[in-house]
Amino acid sequence: MTPGWHLRRRKLVSAAMTGACALAVLVALVPLASILVFIVARGLSSLDWDFFTKLPKPTGEAGGGMANAIAGSAKLILLASLVAVPVGVLAGLYVAEYRGRRLASAVRFAADVLNGIPSIVVGIFAYGTVVLPMHRFSAIAGAVALAIMMVPLVARTTEEMVLLVPEMLREGGMALGATRTQVAFSLVLPAALPGILTGVLVAVARIAGETAPLLFTSFNNQFWSSRIDQPTASLTVQIYSYAISPYDDLHRQAWAGALVLVVLILAVSLLARLFTRRLERMAGR
């Protein structure tokens, strides 16, 4: 029981724990790496220029692409963001700036509950409130479903980012005669903007991969649709319907679609990081 023995034991335990942590990281990375490898291996061979530029061919014919689904996904995400970003940002700002008020606590609780609702239920809700009254599947219905999923995500990240803004910034504004609302919009919101934008992009990446809320809202479309009150194709639904079809050619296209989707989501996530860093540098931090 010499001091030297104790020290050796501590070092041994430390090394063992560090090793265990490293092993856990590796285990956690295995699924991610294998998904990526799998998708790239299966999808890359079916990816060609046609995939990005051509419409789907009628069932049974070879070739064709998913151009309309890529554009449709972009359209759905854009429409959903147009609604969800302002609502989510304002709600998050309110919850953070007026914390302690009963309505703020209620809003935060509601956002958490909404966040926990399964996406298929959100889809059914949009079906009941938008598709049934309109008597048709539409991009609007799909966007509503996606927006409902996006609002709590944006609201919670906005709240977190706004809470990080130092209190002394607010005091500085108030000391110059600004009201709470003026401080919130002219000082707090700009200061939190880089973080909020990251949150928005993360939310976009999240809803871009959703299939369930779109299945019976925006449905699917084999053709281009420029209108927002018509059924609209999306990458996820297209992948789903190709994947359950009995044709090998469509399976290959589904793999290619999955690859494109993953790459797009990865790109948005990377963009989010880049954006944050650029804005932070501009703000001088």
Binding site: P166, M168, L169, M174, L176, G177, A178, A283, R285
Partner: protein
């Protein structure tokens, strides 16, 4: 500094304090002139905890009044009561009055925004907004609805000259305020407060986060500013209080122990507690 560019506030009586007041604070202005700020029987509570006890204090116009005392003695609380910044905290309660030119700040139909316009504040840690230097300085004016670019630019230059920062930043007022050094940021915050032409500038330990050189600059600035503004400064640094102020109040546990001309407080205080504190026996 070009004080000529800054017009004195119209409410100013004739007994302007000259620079000589520094060498002879005892002869400083007419003690019989009515005080600008009159604090009477003022008590303050944070929830159930009383932080200030029955404070009576008169603050003279165009003079520097310092509040000193150990941490938690209530000096910052009192300062923040002077422009009602404590309203931002839930569950506070006040008793007594703070009169500025006869008007009670805690009266029933007082507009808090107006109060904060008349009594500007500089904080312990400089808090520049994440905007350009220019936008920082004119923030208060924009709040008041001033839109004219020329007016804003003139006001910006005047305020930056007033805080002795103009020469250092005149070529880069569109750059981010966060690119300034610590001392420059604090002077920017002073300029921001000056831009709305307040009657009083409240300073809450403005130098506690600055190095000695930046501190010296701010002290020199305080000296120039008191020709046009009334200044109330809270400081932990007793040498600073002795250097810059005309009158000093010593606080202990929420009570005003002694208030007198600065040289009296520092050379022949009447209270044993004051003497113990300034000679470093506690605190």
């Amino acid at each position: 500094m070009e004080t000529a560019t800054m017009t004195p506030s119209p409410t100013t009586p004739t007994h302007a304090v000259s620079m000589d007041a520094r060498s002879a604070p005892a002869s400083a202005p007419a003690a019989d002139a009515p005080p600008l700020i009159e604090i009477g029987g003022f008590s303050f509570w944070y929830g159930p905890k009383q932080a200030l006890f029955d404070i009576d204090l008169r603050i003279r116009e165009r003079a520097v009044t310092a509040f000193i005392g150990p941490s938690g003695c209530g000096k910052s609380t009192l300062l923040r009561c002077l422009n009602r910044m404590n309203d931002l905290i839930d569950g506070v309660r006040v008793e007594g009055s703070v009169r500025v030119q006869g008007q009670d700040l805690y009266g029933p139909d007082v507009d808090v925004v107006d109060v904060r316009k008349r009594l500007g504040m500089v904080f312990q840690k400089s808090n520049p907004f994440p905007k350009s230097i220019f936008e920082n300085v004119v923030y208060g004016l924009r709040l008041q609805g001033v839109k004219n670019k020329g007016v804003l630019r003139d006001a910006c230059e005047k305020a930056l000259r007033g805080s002795a920062l103009w020469d250092e930043v005149k070529d880069r007022i569109e750059e981010s305020a966060l690119s300034l050094s610590g001392g420059q940021m604090q002077r920017l915050c002073i300029a921001r407060a000056l831009a709305v032409e307040p009657e009083v500038v409240l300073m809450d330990e403005p130098c506690s986060a600055l190095d000695p050189i930046a501190t010296a600059k701010i002290e020199e600035l305080i000296f120039q500013l008191k020709e046009r503004f009334t200044i109330v400064i809270v400081t932990h640094n007793m040498q600073q209080a002795a250097r810059v102020s005309d009158e000093t109040g010593f606080f202990m546990l929420g009570k005003l122990i002694e208030f007198d001309k600065t040289d009296v407080i520092f050379t022949r205080p009447k209270q044993k507690m004051t003497e113990d504190y300034i000679t470093g026996r506690f605190g």
